[in-house]
C-alpha cells in the first residue's frame, strides 16, 4: 500500500438498466439478468435505450439542460452522480482543484437539417451551394457547442464546478482506456490528487449507427449475448446508450477526508495491435502477460462489443489462460463506445466492493464463479482498433 495508490471513491453509471451503482448491482445480480431492448426504432438494428432520466436531479438549471444535446446531458448527469457518490458534489474547494479527463466522440447533429439537405440534394447538382444555403439558415447557432467533443467536459465544469484541469480524449474504446490510464498515472506520480474520469455514449441518433455501419459492424438479427453473434446477420455489435464516470483519488487524499473506497485501481495496460498483420488474440495475451494476474479464477468484466473478429479474439485469449471467468456486460448494456472501459472498471469495482461475483450473463458461454472476488479484471478490446485492460483490487 502506498499513499499514492489510486482508489475509486465515487461512481456514476447510467445504462438501459437504470441509473446509479445500486440499480446496476440489483439488475446485474438478478437470477436471470435481462436486457432492456428497443427493436423497433432503428430496425433492423436493436439498441439498448436510455432509461427515463430526470435531468434536473443533476443539472438543476434548465438553461444548462437546453445548452446540451442528450449525449452531453448524459455525461454531465453521470459525472454528477459520481461526484455525489464520492461526497464531493457540494465541496467547492475539492471540485475547484479536481482534474477532469473525459473520453468523448462527437455529439448529435441536427437530423432534420441534415435530412433536408439530403432530400434537396436529389433534385439539384450544386451541392456546395446547397450546403451553404441550408446550413446558414437552418442550423441552430448553439448546436455546434451542444455537439462539440470537448464541451462535455466544458459542461461538467459549468454545472459541477470541476475546474482543476480539463482534457478530452477522442477515439472510441481506446479513448476510454487512455483516460483512466492517464488519470491513474498522474495520481501515482503525484501530478494529481483527485480526478473525475469517464465518458458517455448516446446511441439513439442515426449518425451513431451510421459510423459503425460504414464498416458493417452492427448486428442485424434479434438480440443474442455478445459471445453468440458470430453466425448472425451483420457485424455483431449491438449498441447501447450509457455513461460511466469515476472519481479516482490518491489513497492518502481519500483517507484524509475520511472516505471509504470501493476498490483500488491496479495496473492498467493498453495496446495498439496491428490487427492486419498479427493475430489479435496474441496481442490480448501479451497484455494479460503484463498484468500481475492472481492465482486461481479471476472474474473478468469484459467490454467485448460483439464485433466478430475482436470478440472471438478476446474469447480465445481469455480462454487460453484457463482461469479467467468472463462476464460480457455488453450483452446487457449494449456497446457504449468511449464509455466502455470506464463502465467495465465501474462494474469491476462494484463486484470487489460487494465481495460477490456477477452471475453468468450468458449461461451457455460463461462459467460460474464461486467465492468472493479479491480482484477483478476489466477489459475493452476495441471493435475496430486499440485495446486496454486493468485490474481492480480490494481497497
Amino acid at each position: 500500500m502506498s499513499p499514492r495508490d489510486v482508489v475509486i471513491t465515487g461512481m456514476g453509471i447510467v445504462s438501459s438498466l437504470g441509473e446509479g451503482v445500486d440499480a446496476h448491482w440489483q439488475a446485474l445480480t438478478a437470477t436471470a439478468p435481462a436486457p432492456v431492448l428497443d427493436r423497433e426504432r432503428f430496425a433492423p438494428y436493436t439498441i439498448h435505450p436510455l432509461p427515463e432520466i430526470d435531468w434536473s436531479q443533476q443539472i438543476p438549471r434548465r438553461g444548462d439542460q437546453r445548452q446540451m444535446e442528450t449525449w452531453q446531458r448524459l455525461g454531465t448527469y453521470a459525472a454528477g452522480l459520481a461526484l455525489d457518490d464520492a461526497g464531493m458534489k457540494d465541496d467547492e474547494a475539492l471540485c475547484a482543484s479536481m482534474d477532469l479527463v473525459v473520453a468523448a466522440g462527437g455529439g448529435e447533429r441536427d437530423e432534420a437539417v441534415d435530412q433536408a439537405i439530403l432530400d434537396a440534394s436529389l433534385t439539384r447538382n450544386d451541392h456546395d451551394v446547397l450546403l451553404n444555403e441550408k446550413l446558414t439558415t437552418e442550423l441552430r447557432p448553439t448546436l455546434f457547442l451542444a455537439q462539440l467533443s470537448n464541451l462535455l467536459a466544458g459542461n461538467i465544469s459549468i454545472v459541477h464546478k470541476v475546474t482543476g484541469s480539463s482534457r478530452t480524449f477522442m477515439g472510441e474504446e481506446g479513448a476510454g482506456v487512455s483516460t483512466i490510464e492517464t488519470a491513474a498515472a498522474r495520481i501515482r506520480a503525484g501530478q494529481s490528487s483527485h480526478v473525475l474520469v469517464g465518458g458517455a455514449f448516446q446511441t439513439e441518433h442515426s449518425d451513431m449507427l451510421l459510423a459503425y455501419e460504414l464498416a458493417g459492424f452492427l448486428h442485424r438479427d434479434d438480440w443474442k449475448p455478445v459471445w453468440e453473434r458470430a453466425d448472425s446477420e451483420g457485424g455483431g455489435v449491438v449498441t447501447g446508450s450509457g455513461a460511466a464516470f469515476l472519481v479516482l483519488e490518491a489513497r492518502e487524499h481519500a483517507e484524509k477526508r475520511g472516505r471509504k473506497a470501493y476498490a483500488t485501481v491496479g495496473p492498467i495496460v493498453s495496446r495498439r495491435s496491428r490487427r492486419n498483420s498479427e493475430p489479435l488474440a496474441d496481442g490480448i495475451d501479451a497484455m494479460l502477460a503484463q498484468l500481475p494476474l492472481p492465482e486461481g479464477p479471476l472474474l473478468t468484466l469484459s467490454g467485448a462489443s460483439g464485433a466478430h473478429q475482436a470478440t472471438q479474439a478476446e474469447e480465445e485469449a481469455l480462454a487460453k489462460r484457463g482461469t479467467l471467468v468472463a462476464r460480457g456486460f455488453s450483452s446487457l448494456t449494449g456497446h457504449m463506445k468511449e464509455a466502455q472501459f470506464p463502465f467495465a472498471m465501474a462494474l469491476a469495482a462494484l463486484s470487489v466492493w460487494h465481495g460477490k461475483a456477477y452471475p453468468a450473463f450468458d449461461a451457455d458461454r460463461e462459467q460460474a464463479f464461486e467465492g468472493a472476488p479479491q480482484a477483478v479484471l476489466a477489459t475493452a478490446i476495441g471493435y475496430h482498433c486499440f485495446e486496454g485492460m486493468g485490474l481492480v483490487t480490494k481497497a
Partner: protein
Amino acid sequence: MVAVTGMGVVTSLGQGREDNWKALIGGRSGIHPITRFPTEHLATTIAGTVDFLPSSNDGASALTFELADLAAAEAVAQANVTAGDFAGPLFLAAPPVELDWRHRLSLYAGAREHNGAMSLIEAARTAHALQLFGESQFATIADRLAERYGTRGLPITLSTACASGATAIQLGMEAIRRGECDRALAIGADGSATAEALIRFSLLSALTTQNDVPEKASRPFSKDRSGFVLAEGAGALVLESLESALARGAEILGIMRGCGEKSDDFHRTRSKPDGSPAIAAVRAALSDAGMAEDAIEYINAHGTSTPENDKMEHLSLSTVFGERIRDVPVSSNKSMIGHTLSAAGAVEAVFSLMTMREGVLPPTINYDTPDPAIELDVVPNVMREAQVSSVLSNSFGFGGQNTCLVMAREPV
C-alpha cells in the same frame, strides 16, 4: 527537465520552418479568399486554409492527417530519431471528425431508397466504403501516424478546442516527467476548414466578416478587431528528457519549462468577467516552470482578434505582470496565420521556440488602430530584433479551456 529536439510546422504561409519563419518575420499574411468551396450565402469569405497540399481538397480527415504527417516528418528529421522507430508515445491534437458532406451526399445518392436516415445507413452498409469508415472514427489519424512513425503504445487523440495543441505538449511533458518515456511526439493539426465549420463559427459570431482585404482581416489587439479568421495548419514537437537528449548528442532547440491549466466554469464561450481562470492558468505555468513573472521576456499571445479574447487576455496578463506588462513584448502570430484551432498551441509553440533561437520577435501585423483599453507592446507591424530567453505562450478555448506553456532557450 523536458527539452525540445525537433520541430515541424505547416501553415497557410507555407510548409516547413524556414518558409514559415521568413514569412512570419516579413509580416506576410497567409489569409486569402476562400476557393475551396463556393462562398455564396456566407458572411465570411476569407480564411487561412492550406491550399497547396495534395489532400487540400480531400476533406478534413485527409488534410488533417497530411498536415500532421508533414509537421511530424520535419520534427522527427530534425531530432535525428530513427525513421519509423520513434519509440515514445504520440499525443495528437486534432479536430473532432465527421463524415464529410460530399461522402454523405454521395452515399445517399446511391441509396436504394430515399426514406431518411435509415436509407443512408443502409447505403453505408452496402457501400463497403472502408475509407469512409476511417473518416468517421476518431482514432484513425493517430493510428496511421503511430504506424508511420513507430510511436509506442496507444496513441492519444485529444481535443481541448482552441487549446488542443498546447494540451498535446502538456501531455507529452507530463509523460516524460513521470518517467514513462524518454521522448514524446506532440502534434497539433487542423485541416477542418470546411464550409460547415466556417458556418458554425459564423453562427456564433466568432469570425470577422472584413473580407475586402483578406490580409488585413486579422488584427489582434486593434480597436477595430472584429473576430478571428478560420485557418489550418500543424505544428509538431519532439519532446525529450534533457538527460536523454544530451546522452544521444541531440541538439537542444529549447526547453519546455512549465505548463499550467485552469478551467473556467462561467460560460460555454465566454470567460469569467474577472479573468480569474486565465490568470490562474498563467500563474500555474509560471509556478510549474519555477519562474517568477519578471523572468518572462516575451509573450506569444493567444491573440485571436476577437473583441472578447483580446480584452480578456490583456486583463489576465496585466493582472499577472502588473505595470511591467507595458514593457514585455506580446505578439500574436494569428495576425498572419489566422486561428489554426486545434493546431494553434503547437504551431505557436514552434514559433515561440524559433523566436528565441533566431533573436527576432515576429510582429503583430495590421496594428493600425490601437485599442486604447489594451496597453501592450504588440511588436506592431514590423519584426524586432531582440534576444529573449523565455517565452509564455497562451492558449484559450471554448468550453473554458485555458492552457499556458513556458519555454526557455537554455536549460538552467
